[in-house]
């Protein structure tokens, strides 16, 4: 993914095709040099006040030679003159190199700009969102969120990195589990993977404070993931469902523990779901109230804002549930089982993201 800075290009096209004034200045410098000294050179050369054409691809390596009027030259201080000439040549050379570097910089910036504009257009066509579901290894995914809240923009970029790291970890888990690996190394990988999920919950918590509706909408995720969205993320009970088929041998105690966990998870989820529904109802009532014909004036706006704020605690609570479910599974399972479980979970989300990509491009394939 592009490591772009958080300064975004405004919507209008930036015009970099104007002729550059700087090159006029170079010409002026040379002219003044000539005016000063009495110079003795044999050559009869012309200043080129180079006007850049729109392509900016002019080869500047053969420099701008100088004009000297042979008649005004004098032979009084040949060494000084020679030294002055050498200095001039040096200065001219440095100037040419600077100019070349500057032009190259402009070229790359221009290409980058074109690329950015294309991505923006593409993003606009898709309804102003570019989620992180597009395979980041083959495309540059720039996440432009609708509101351009810097905290949210930062979150989207961080999430892009999180996905990259996640893919690496899944790859490593897969490789390691296919071979023979000791429990110690496996435990380390499991710890790292768990911590990675906990990092995501922390990131989401900060982002929810910035814009809870954004987190709740799941716009930062791919379309197939959004299909299964529950209060800004995956359902904890789904987690258990995804992991369970991959444990061939489980002790009786483990089976009992997992069953209990599944039940308590479901109950906690139901309670939160109902709380969330109540919140939505009360917010809707807030907004729908008031007198008829008042347009977009929000009655009891403070109350409505408070309800919106309350959503933040729901997102946090939902993430807390996800966190605890992961912890409990970790406690119940052996290290090897946990590693397999984490691989299964990671691959599950990878497949959802892949499905989103396939779905998005399905009409572009030739019949």
């Amino acid at each position: 993914m592009n490591s772009t800075s958080t300064h975004f290009v405004p919507a209008r096209r930036v015009n970099i095709y104007e002729p550059l004034h700087q090159f006029g200045m170079w010409g002026e410098t040379f002219k003044s040099n000539i005016g000063n000294g009495n110079l003795n050179t044999p050559s009869h050369i012309i200043i080129q006040n180079s006007q850049l054409d729109n392509n900016l691809s002019e080869d500047t390596s053969h420099g701008t030679p100088l004009v000297f009027d042979q008649e005004t030259s004098t032979s009084r201080h040949p060494d000084k003159i020679k030294r002055r000439l050498a200095q001039n040549r040096e200065a001219a050379k440095k100037s040419r190199l600077r100019k070349k570097a500057y032009v190259q910089q402009l070229e790359t910036s221009r290409l980058k700009l074109i690329q950015l504009e294309q991505e923006l257009d593409r993003a606009r066509q898709q309804g102003f969102y570019v989620g992180n579901g597009i395979d980041t290894s083959t495309t540059t995914s720039l996440g432009f969120s609708e509101n351009m809240n810097p905290g949210i923009v930062a979150f989207e970029m961080e999430y892009g990195h999180w996905i990259e790291e996640q893919n690496k970890q899944i790859c490593e888990l897969r490789t390691v589990l296919q071979g023979h690996v000791g429990d110690v190394e496996l435990r380390l990988l499991v710890e790292i993977a768990m911590k990675h999920y906990f990092d995501l919950f922390r990131m989401k918590s900060a982002a929810a404070k910035e814009d809870v509706f954004f987190i709740m909408s799941g716009m930062w995720r791919t379309s197939a993931e959004r299909f299964f969205l529950w209060i800004g993320g995956f359902r904890p009970s789904d987690l258990i469902k995804v992991l369970l088929p991959h444990f061939d041998v489980m002790t009786d105690q483990q089976i009992l523990d997992v069953c209990n966990l599944r039940q308590s998870c479901q109950q906690a989820e139901d309670a939160l779901s109902q709380g969330m529904e109540k919140l939505q109802h009360t917010l809707a009532d807030c907004i729908a109230g008031g007198r008829l014909g008042e347009g977009n004036y929000v009655p009891q706006v403070n109350s409505a804002m408070e309800r919106a704020e309350a959503s933040v605690s729901f997102v946090n609570q939902a993430d807390h549930l996800r966190h605890e479910t992961l912890q409990q599974m970790h406690r119940i399972l052996t290290t090897r089982q946990a590693a397999r479980g984490l691989l299964a979970l990671g691959e599950y989300f990878q497949r959802l993201r892949a499905l989103s990509s396939s779905w998005a491009t399905r009409h572009r394939e030739p019949a």
Binding site: D257, N260, L261, S264, C265, Q267, A268, D270, A271, L272, Q274, G275, M276, K278, L279, T282, E306, A310, S313, F314, Q317, H320, L321, E324, T325, Q328
Partner: protein, 102 residues
């Protein structure tokens, strides 16, 4: 604070809530699903609301509401209740107060 002490030491499960708090509602739903009838105190209808809130925070509740007490002892807020439940420790705690019906 005396009032809080008195109210919380009632038998069974006691929950301090606010009528506008939907997380409190979620916690109530959870206990209902576990066949428990908690005693609910809506502190925003109480004239001493601010005092009660401060007292709950002082006792050690992460958020003033919902504040859950079982058998007179503070269990905590939503976080603590959820953690306990997922680890399987909540049911043994409320077992004496679970209804035998449904």
């Amino acid at each position: 604070m005396d009032k809080v002490m008195r109210m919380s030491s009632e038998r069974g499960v006691v929950i301090f809530t606010k009528s506008s708090c939907c997380l409190c509602y979620a916690v109530q739903i959870l206990f209902r699903d576990l066949r428990v009838q908690p005693t609910i105190y809506e502190i925003d209808t109480d004239p001493d609301c601010c005092e009660i809130e401060k007292a709950l925070l002082r006792i050690g509740c992460s958020t003033a509401v919902p504040a859950v007490f079982v058998g007179g002892k503070l269990v905590g807020s939503t976080n603590e209740v959820m953690s306990l439940h997922l680890s399987g420790s909540l049911i043994p705690l409320i077992k004496p107060y679970q209804s035998l019906l449904y």
